[in-house]
């Protein structure tokens, strides 16, 4: 142990301000980095889930439209739904930017 008392430890041989400034800022930056990384991970997952929900709603809407128009052939149905989904979501594929 290099210090005789806690006060002496805090004083850091007269360099208290500089030593604790360094340690403080480093700790704060690292904690911020971890916090931001965890948050971003959650945000990206949430965005993907939201997009999925929107897709599902679009599918349902498209299916209802099909029924109204009397188009019930399964092949045609799938094709048109996929088209509609692609049209409405193509712009949002690369949305996952850092906030």
């Amino acid at each position: 142990m290099q210090f005789n008392s806690f006060a002496e430890f805090l004083n850091m041989g007269g360099y208290a301000f500089y030593v604790w400034l360094s340690y403080g800022i480093s700790t704060a930056l690292i904690i911020y980095l971890i916090w931001a990384s965890v948050n971003r991970h959650k945000a990206v997952l949430q965005q993907i889930a939201q997009r999925q929900k929107r897709e599902q709603r679009l599918r349902q809407a498209a299916a209802i439209n099909m029924e109204k128009q009397g188009l019930t052939q399964p092949e045609l149905n799938e094709e048109i739904i996929a088209d509609a989904v692609a049209k409405t979501t193509s712009g949002s594929v690369n949305e996952n930017k850092e906030v």
């Binding site: 290099q2 007269g14 360099y15 480093s26 991970h41 999925q52 594929v93 996952n96 930017k97």
Partner: protein, 260 residues
């Protein structure tokens, strides 16, 4: 070797592998950092010239070395993404840039706080300090380019070229203290085999260095996984994961997840 490595090029396998690695890296880093910092702050001797201000060294030097190490790793990832079109390499390069920027900032700030009592100034346009500042700007440029394009592949290419050009700065930083004789002192610990400092200071430094290295590896894992998710949002496994996450938030199944 490539046969053995090949399955890890699958985003899902890489995502899960890093997910398993991540908590262990965080634990190792906590152990080494606790040992290292307690040793550095309480037990390591004060420098005979610099007194207790020398304790800044235990953050400053690992941060500076690792900031350059991350840059090298990022540049290698960028190269393999540009040459072999490895999407995961691009994701890892994007994951490393912000971490490198933070550690470069730590090296610069702790350096300033050390320079004020020792040199009498917070900042001087010394070769080492200036080239380290350029490293920070390179990191910020890479981050900006990664976020500047809607298309992640295009962004990865632009950022990758900048990272490769920026590699020229690494030898400049390393040899700056030899080429230009200014305020910053020469290398003490990076001389392989024969560090020019006493063991009572070298060991706590090594512990801190390992602690920061594991911490960086852990955060790289975390950010890499985020980048993989962002780049594979349309894959079924990512969708399943996202759905699980959302349902977890409403019904708190964190413990169930951990037990798996």
């Amino acid at each position: 070797m490539f046969k053995w490595l090949h399955p890890y090029a699958n985003p899902e396998v890489a995502y899960n592998f890093c997910g398993k690695l991540q908590p262990w890296l965080f634990r190792l880093s906590a152990i080494f950092l606790t040992i290292g910092l307690v040793w550095a702050l309480f037990y390591a001797p004060a420098d005979y010239q610099q007194g207790d201000s020398f304790r800044i060294f235990y953050i400053h030097v690992p941060a500076a070395i690792l900031a350059m190490g991350i840059y090298m790793a990022m540049a290698i990832a960028a190269l393999s993404s540009l040459v072999w079109q490895l999407k995961l390499a691009d994701a890892s390069a994007a994951a490393m840039a912000p971490i490198g920027a933070v550690f470069t900032a730590i090296a610069l700030i702790t350096g300033a706080a050390w320079g004020k009592p020792m040199w009498g100034t917070w900042w001087i346009w010394d070769a080492r300090l200036t080239s380290e500042l350029i490293l920070l700007f390179l990191y910020l440029g890479v981050i900006a380019l990664h976020n500047a394009f809607e298309d992640k592949n295009l962004a990865g290419k632009a950022a990758g070229i900048l990272s490769l050009v920026g590699v020229i700065n690494l030898p400049i930083i390393h040899y700056s203290v030899e080429w230009w004789n200014t305020l910053h002192q020469g290398a003490t610990v990076s001389k392989l085999g024969a560090p020019s400092m006493s063991a009572s200071m070298y060991w706590p430094f090594l512990m801190c260095f390992l602690g920061f290295a594991f911490l960086i590896a852990a955060i790289v894992c975390l950010r890499f996984r985020t980048e993989v998710l962002a780049r594979n949002g349309m894959r079924p496994w990512v969708k399943a994961l996202a759905e699980q996450q959302i349902s977890c938030q409403s019904t708190q199944c964190n413990q169930a997840q951990e037990n798996k």
